[in-house]
């Protein structure tokens, strides 16, 4: 059974997805209050993800959670580049760069602008 990375689609991300084949992959969560794309990750690849990030874990729904923001961002970027969900290899190819960025995330994550 594959695992998943849930990529939350907010308005900014939606603009990049509109008109691409990814649009039909969007799922509603919480009654449509949240949009999400579930990227399937074959089990042997999800093991690599868990190995790369010590806090990462698979939750009861089979989603890989507690991964760095940099990892989620990379998943989205690769998804947009390839216009496909079959992108985990492209993400894993960047893993050392992502791990480097993730280290900084233990100290600082920029707060969002909220009025």
């Amino acid at each position: 059974m594959p695992h998943f990375i849930g990529v939350i689609i907010d308005e900014k991300r939606m603009e990049k997805i509109k008109g691409t084949p990814l649009e039909k992959e969007i799922k509603d969560m919480f009654g449509g209050a949240l949009k999400m794309i579930a990227v399937p990750i074959p089990e042997e690849k999800s093991k690599e993800v868990l190995k790369a990030f010590d806090k990462a874990r698979i939750d009861s729904r089979g989603y890989i959670e507690d991964v760095p923001v940099a990892f989620r961002r990379a998943v989205f970027e690769e998804m947009i580049k390839a216009k496909s969900l079959n992108i985990i290899d492209n993400v894993l190819a960047r893993i050392s760069e992502i791990q480097e960025a993730a280290k900084k995330e233990d100290e600082y994550i920029p707060p969002p602008e909220v009025e």
């Binding site: 849930g6 939350i8 907010d10 509603d28 969560m29 919480f30 009654g31 209050a33 949240l34 806090k55 874990r57 939750d59 009861s60 729904r61 989603y63 959670e65 507690d66 991964v67 923001v69 989620r72 961002r73 995330e105 233990d106 100290e107 600082y108 994550i109 920029p110 707060p111 969002p112 909220v114």
Partner: protein, 456 residues
């Protein structure tokens, strides 16, 4: 059944070991050897506990009838049967620990009084009744149990990934048992000052200000998402002839594990729930207890029962995985304790059905999830759409937060989320990390006013 009333404090009487008269305080501490309190740190030097929090909780009566650091016989009794020498149930070792070097340097003996200073100022005294040594790893192991000795609920051996186990493991080996007395009241800083309701005051507020005959306690170490809010609202329908009059949120304030929210955000997040009317303030109060959480699931639930009974609550909500981290305990361990008891921990019956037990009534709750079919946040034992359910998993919610996505109203109330962002801006991080723990250990929740103590 007669109508429920506020239960008496655990042990019958609230401990009040806070000396407010300056002359008396000076006399108590005059000529004493001084010792500056310091945080307990883990293998990497990260602060994970500060004994001042335990001294505060003891002296202000949160842990009544416990009056101080346990003597050896009491420690053994607590580890074996979870009872004090006075018979009243109590779950955790509470110890004043010092290193061998500090012990030598202090040169104190049994019968001496030690003046404990905090941030350089006189804070409390400890009347040393007994000096003895512990093996911290042994205390840590017996505190939480093992799969062999506690097969009812312990599923895997405790290790260095469990923050409570680590707290006891890094206790210093020399213990001074004896009574604590606060001689110089610390002043709480903002925002903590708004949430400080020691048991005597809290009982007073419940009775005379809120006028609640019954009140259900909600344990928290979290900023409340809508799932927590629904748990509070629904559990509060418990009561007797009517739902509970009030909901008392009691936040555990102290060193927490990485990934939990900062204490300030937890308190103000819960406050936002009543400030913006999701549960109106007439029915809701946010309070706190100083305690470096041990994440001991059933063991922790006993301490929660004691604290909240002392604060004047009639009921206490207990969830699945109550005060838990990882999979060390059965996810229902707390509920097993409060419905059947756990004999290997000294409970042949639930803690509220044994002699010298608790009077607070448990309200065991299952889970709340979002159901798209019901179109609402639903109770797991009510909603029949478990296939469609969307859980408020802590890690999922943390993921949304750290990505900086404004969460929808069904996950976080906007006012609650803004509290997270407010403290995120202060600390540059939405969650507890090493930097926050270090800063917190320095700053603490309080300042201590200057007090001159005569030399002799």
């Amino acid at each position: 059944m007669p109508l429920l009333r506020m239960p008496p404090p655990h042990g019958g009487k609230l401990v009040d070991s806070v000396v407010k008269n300056k002359d008396r305080a000076e006399k108590l501490a005059a000529g004493c050897v001084r010792f500056e309190l310091k945080p307990t740190t883990d293998a990497k030097g990260v602060p994970i506990r500060h004994v001042y929090r335990e001294i505060m909780s003891v002296c202000y009566g949160f842990f009544s009838p416990l009056e101080g650091s346990m003597v050896r016989e009491e420690l053994e009794r607590v580890l074996k049967e979870r009872r004090l020498l006075s018979e009243w149930i109590f779950p955790y070792p509470i110890l004043f620990d010092v290193s061998e070097e500090d012990y030598k340097a202090l040169g104190v003996k049994e019968g001496d009084r030690l003046l404990l200073t905090l941030k350089g100022q006189p804070f409390a005294t400890l009347d040393i009744e007994e000096i003895y040594k512990i093996d911290p790893i042994d205390v840590a192991t017996r505190t939480f149990g093992t799969p062999e000795k506690n097969p009812e609920v312990v599923r895997q051996p405790f290790d260095d990934k469990h923050p409570g186990y680590v707290i006891y493991k890094f206790h210093q080996p020399v213990i001074f048992g004896g009574k604590y007395t606060i001689i110089n009241e610390p002043k709480f800083k903002e925002p903590y000052d708004r949430f400080w309701f020691p048991p005597a005051k809290c009982r007073e507020v419940i009775k005379n200000v809120k006028k609640w005959r019954t009140c259900i306690a909600h344990q928290t170490r979290n900023v409340p998402h809508v799932g927590h809010e629904m748990l509070m609202k629904c559990a509060a329908f418990t009561g007797d002839v009517e739902p509970c009059g009030g909901i008392l949120v009691n936040a555990i304030i102290g060193a927490k594990r990485k990934g939990d929210y900062p204490d300030e955000a937890i308190l103000e997040g819960h406050e936002a729930v009543n400030k913006y009317g999701y549960i109106k303030p007439e029915r809701h109060i946010v309070t706190m207890t100083l305690w470096d959480m041990r994440y001991g699931n059933p063991i922790e639930s006993l301490l929660h029962g004691i604290i909240r009974q002392n604060m004047g609550c009639t009921h206490h909500m207990f969830g699945r995985d109550h005060a838990a981290v990882g999979e060390y305990y059965d996810m229902y361990a707390t509920q097993i304790l409060w419905t059947k008891g756990i004999p290997s921990f000294g409970f042949e019956a639930p803690p509220n059905e044994v002699d010298y037990g608790l009077k607070i009534l448990p309200q065991n709750m299952a889970e709340f999830w979002y159901c798209p079919k019901c179109g609402e946040v639903a109770y797991s034992e009510t909603c029949g759409h478990s296939k469609e359910k969307q859980k408020f998993s802590g890690s999922f919610v943390r993921g949304i937060v750290s990505e900086g996505i404004f969460p929808p109203n069904v996950i976080f109330r906007p006012e609650v989320y803004k509290v997270i962002v407010k403290w995120w801006k202060v600390y540059g991080y939405p969650f507890v990390n090493n930097k926050y723990l270090k800063l917190k250990a320095q700053e603490l929740e309080v300042d201590v006013p200057p007090l001159e103590i005569p030399k002799a």
